[in-house]
């Protein structure tokens, strides 16, 4: 057993002639909140989809929880999928089911717990994500954007995963809900001992929740490290990312709070 939960090595991805990843490598350690950032269209989401075995790279290796995930058979992928949770950008809650049912469905599929215990466990997960108790009875289209994200997080936590993938956890949320998510991410990591891998644009979230950050651009990892380290990076794209007008505001905010 190594300390690394995710190891990506020399990853290449192409769509037709468009090169998305041209030799991407990084590792995520156990218990870390790791963030992947970059401009829109730089291949962050593609990389995430490759990690959760929804898509295959052209070449390279991705090891997650000590298993090579490229070229995995369906059965092997299932075994691995039970050990991680994924929260999609738009929630992707099952619209025909209530929030509680969204969570219990996962438990029903993969465990033999009694219906009573399943409902109770679902209620605990829903409470853990900070949703009010009556939210469980609601359907996804009755929830606000922020609540939907939390509900999606509750479903991702259903099987008590060791690793959590978050795709844009704060996209489309107001600053107040978004800062709630920041705290939630750290809180879950501390309380449940999760490793969290997130893809995000949100500079505030990066400053407040991420332990380490990798900047993806031009098909490579342009910089990797803690936020203060990256902020000193000399690479023009990384520099621009952190020192653009919005980057500066988030930085000042973050320093004030420390």
């Amino acid at each position: 057993m190594t300390e690394n939960v995710i190891e990506v090595r020399d990853l290449h991805t192409r769509f037709g002639t468009a090169v998305v990843h041209d030799g991407v490598s990084f590792t995520v350690k156990h218990g870390e909140v790791f963030a992947l950032v970059g401009a829109s269209g730089c291949g962050k989401s593609t990389l995430l989809r490759e990690m959760i075995v929804l898509q295959s790279p052209v070449s390279g290796s991705i090891r997650i929880l000590d298993r090579e995930v490229t070229g995995l058979s369906d059965d092997e992928a299932l075994a691995l999928r039970r050990r991680w949770g994924v929260m999609f950008e738009r929630g992707a809650l099952f619209s025909a089911l209530t929030v509680t049912e969204n969570v219990t469905t996962v438990l029903e599929e993969h465990t033999t717990l009694s219906a009573q215990l399943r409902t109770e466990v679902a209620a605990v997960k829903i409470a853990l994500t900070g949703l009010p108790p009556d939210a469980g009875q609601k359907y996804p289209n009755e929830l606000s954007g922020g609540m939907r994200k939390r509900a999606a997080l509750a479903r991702a936590l259903a099987l008590d995963p060791e690793l959590l993938f978050l795709d844009e956890p704060t996209a489309g949320l107001d600053p107040l809900s978004a800062s709630g998510i920041d705290e939630l991410v750290r809180h879950l990591r501390d309380a449940l001992g999760l490793t969290i891998m997130m893809v995000t644009h949100d500079l505030d979230l990066l400053w407040r929740a991420a332990d380490r950050v990798a900047v993806l651009g031009e098909g490579h990892i342009l910089g990797i490290g803690t936020m203060p380290e990256l902020a000193k990076s000399a690479h023009p794209l990384v520099h621009e990312y952190f020192y653009g007008p919005r980057g500066r505001a988030a930085r000042e905010q973050a320093w004030k709070q420390r």
């Binding site: 108790p133 289209n141 936590l157 099987l159 001992g193």
Partner: protein, 378 residues
């Protein structure tokens, strides 16, 4: 919790301890392995003294579900009037137990009471009333939109109309043609046996011509179009509703009925009579081929007899029903689309309802036409 230790998990268990008021927990209390434990807890927790000590030092792994089960056990014992102490847990497990306990106040309060039978009946009736009201409102709104468009023809969306004529009409030619051709063959084949017996071979033209032109061809065309296009209308509008495109149209000042409903109604009202004429021809061609093969009635004889058998009135009645069917199909399809609420399942439900309802209404109105015509003796 030690995820890296997941590979070798000991079966979780709960045992009576050294003294009668002691319980000992051991193994991995994790989601995947909890099922048998639930029952064991109920069995073990029966005969305990007033002061219970739960020893958790042998728990090797604990996740939120396991912590919840432990917390639930403790709470159930406490509700039974016992005092409970949990000891020996690893600090991280203890923290998790505290966390779950702090959230557990919510659990169990939220379940809504199940509906009584009378309430459910009332709700269903109310839903039906609202549905009828909604349909009427929709008809009214559609009529208003239509009237506005007639008064101000610039509002008419010609592009959308032509697009719908192509998809609902032109692209339906192969399937409607093939099916009515086969229908013509079937009718002629069934009729041939009977007619040959009485030596009335030539009346095959009456049989095929009248039944196809007056009843079957408008009906089969309408049914195919309802299945092909009516369902598509519901699914399209329903999906647009789920993705809030309908609201977006409203906010940029485009009436959804202007853009989505009226062109479909107009296009279908144009196209369905044309399709009916086409299926008339295909059905009669099918009947003609069968008549020659089975009854030795030549094409020229058949066509000659057809002229006498099928009056202009019958033909006009058949084609004239088509626009009515078209309006029914388009309006029901669109209305059901607008009734979709938020979920993907609802799109499927509404599409089913749309097809069933429009076919039902088409056949019902066909029956009413027949009754009306027989009164009028046409």
């Amino acid at each position: 919790m030690a995820p890296s230790a997941m590979a070798a998990l000991a079966t979780p268990n709960i045992l009576a301890g050294d003294s009668p008021s002691q319980l000992r927990c051991e193994g991995a209390w994790v989601t995947r392995m909890l099922a048998p434990l639930e029952e064991r807890i109920a069995a073990v927790a029966k005969d305990l003294g007033k002061e219970v000590l739960i020893d958790g030092s042998a728990i090797t792994a604990l996740d939120t579900s396991g912590a919840w089960l432990l917390h639930r056990t403790v709470r159930a014992l406490e509700l039974g009037g016992r005092s409970v102490r949990v000891q020996g847990l690893r600090p991280e497990f203890d923290a998790l137990l505290q966390l779950v306990a702090s959230r557990s106040v919510h659990v169990g309060e939220a379940a809504a009471p199940p509906l009584g039978r009378l309430t459910a009946l009332g709700l269903a009736a109310w839903e039906a009333v609202r549905g009828a009201y909604g349909l009427l409102s929709f008809l009214g709104e559609a009529a208003l939109t239509w009237a506005r468009s007639v008064l101000d023809p610039r509002r008419i969306r010609w592009r959308a109309i032509f697009h719908n004529i192509q998809t609902a009409g032109f692209e339906a030619l192969p399937i409607t043609g093939l099916l009515s051709f086969l229908l013509g063959i079937v009718i002629a084949y069934q009729g041939a046996e009977q007619l040959r017996r009485v030596g009335a071979n030539i009346y095959i033209a009456d049989l095929v011509g009248l039944s196809m032109v007056r009843e079957l061809s408008p009906l089969i065309t309408a049914i195919i179009v309802a299945g092909r296009s009516g369902s598509a209308y519901t699914a399209q509008i329903g999906t647009m509703k789920v993705t809030e495109e309908i609201d977006a149209l409203r906010t940029i000042g485009i009436g959804p009925l202007d853009l989505l409903v009226l062109p479909k109604v107009v296009a279908l009202a144009i196209v369905l009579p044309l399709l009916t004429v086409y299926t008339d021809i295909m059905g009669i061609v099918g009947g003609m081929i069968m008549a020659r093969a089975q009854l030795q009635v030549s094409f020229t004889t058949f066509l000659h007899r057809l002229e006498e058998a099928v009056s202009l009135t019958s033909y006009v009645i058949g084609v004239g029903k088509a626009p009515v069917f078209a309006v029914i199909i388009a309006l029901v399809g669109c209305y059901q689309g607008f009734r979709v609420t938020g979920s993907a399942e609802s799109v499927g439900q509404r599409t089913t309802v749309s097809v069933v309802q429009s076919i039902f209404l088409v056949i019902l109105s066909d029956a009413m036409f027949s009754i009306a015509f027989s009164w009028l003796e046409i």
